[in-house]
Symmetry: C2
Subunit: 157 residues, 2 copies
């Protein structure tokens, strides 16, 4: 028997992390008419979960689905919010994706580059589980916060 997202204890714990709470609030912010009011947080995050088996089945040809691009944007917006909560500094992500599913992400604050990543296989963007998603977001936030702590004057420039 496979546990559903909400039944797995690691996933239940992940839902309580500040990162997933931010991500859920960003998703709910797009729900102008309250149609998702009765949806659980886990079900709103379900599309971020792509298991290894599912990943293999996703073709990486043709333009990445706008919904996937939207999820990448939401993920980094939540990283930016988490960074702001931790440091008090506003971070702005800038994402540029090609039609082939490659791309680049820059997150900056002041004159400082907090994150600079090359993105690949955007078509398959997703995480093994809610806890893997929460870990990835949490790690990006702490990486960014560490850079800001190393160069505090540049982060405020």
């Amino acid at each position: 028997m496979t546990l559903t997202l909400e039944q797995n204890p690691a996933d239940v714990a992940a839902l309580a992390t500040p990162f997933l709470k931010s991500l859920v609030s960003i998703i709910r912010a797009t729900d102008s008419y309250g149609t998702w009011d009765k949806k659980s947080d886990a079900s709103l995050l379900a599309e971020f979960i792509v298991t290894k088996e599912q990943r293999k089945l996703i073709p990486i040809i043709a333009d990445p689905d706008p919904d996937i691009v939207g999820r990448v944007e939401q993920f980094y917006a939540a990283v930016g919010l988490g960074f702001e909560a931790e440091t008090g500094l506003m971070a702005s992500p800038m994402l540029k994706l090609t039609h082939e599913g490659f791309g680049r992400l820059l997150m900056t604050t002041g004159r400082l580059v907090l994150l600079s990543k090359t993105l690949r296989d955007i078509h398959r963007f997703g995480f093994e589980s809610l806890s893997a998603l929460a870990d990835a977001g949490g790690k990006a936030i702490s990486d960014a916060a560490a850079v800001a702590a190393t160069y505090p004057e540049v982060a405020r420039a």
Copy 2:
């Protein structure tokens, strides 16, 4: 009588600036079959020149022409090259434009943000004259170099 681009002494001087030389080399690099070999530098740069009168006539509705987006990319690629020639540091521009012709440019090196600009009215991207184009590029390069000189360790981080 209106002078053509090549006859105006200020424009002739502008063509000799390192910035316009870089820009021309970037444009010529896209000419795989040598069809522009006999075109003068000034005529290759002619599309960067948009006078005040012409500007007023360009509508800012609909998606910006891909050729214009290409010219904005070429302009900042040349700024990056000029910055590299001056400082020895590689700078990478990242440009993101919306369909409405607004956008954002970030140019970074190492962990340092060299340029961060909000772009508007991309539909009308252009300069009054070759010398105005050379001045704008030269200014962007010296602004970026000044930032790198202020935070040398971050530029190399």
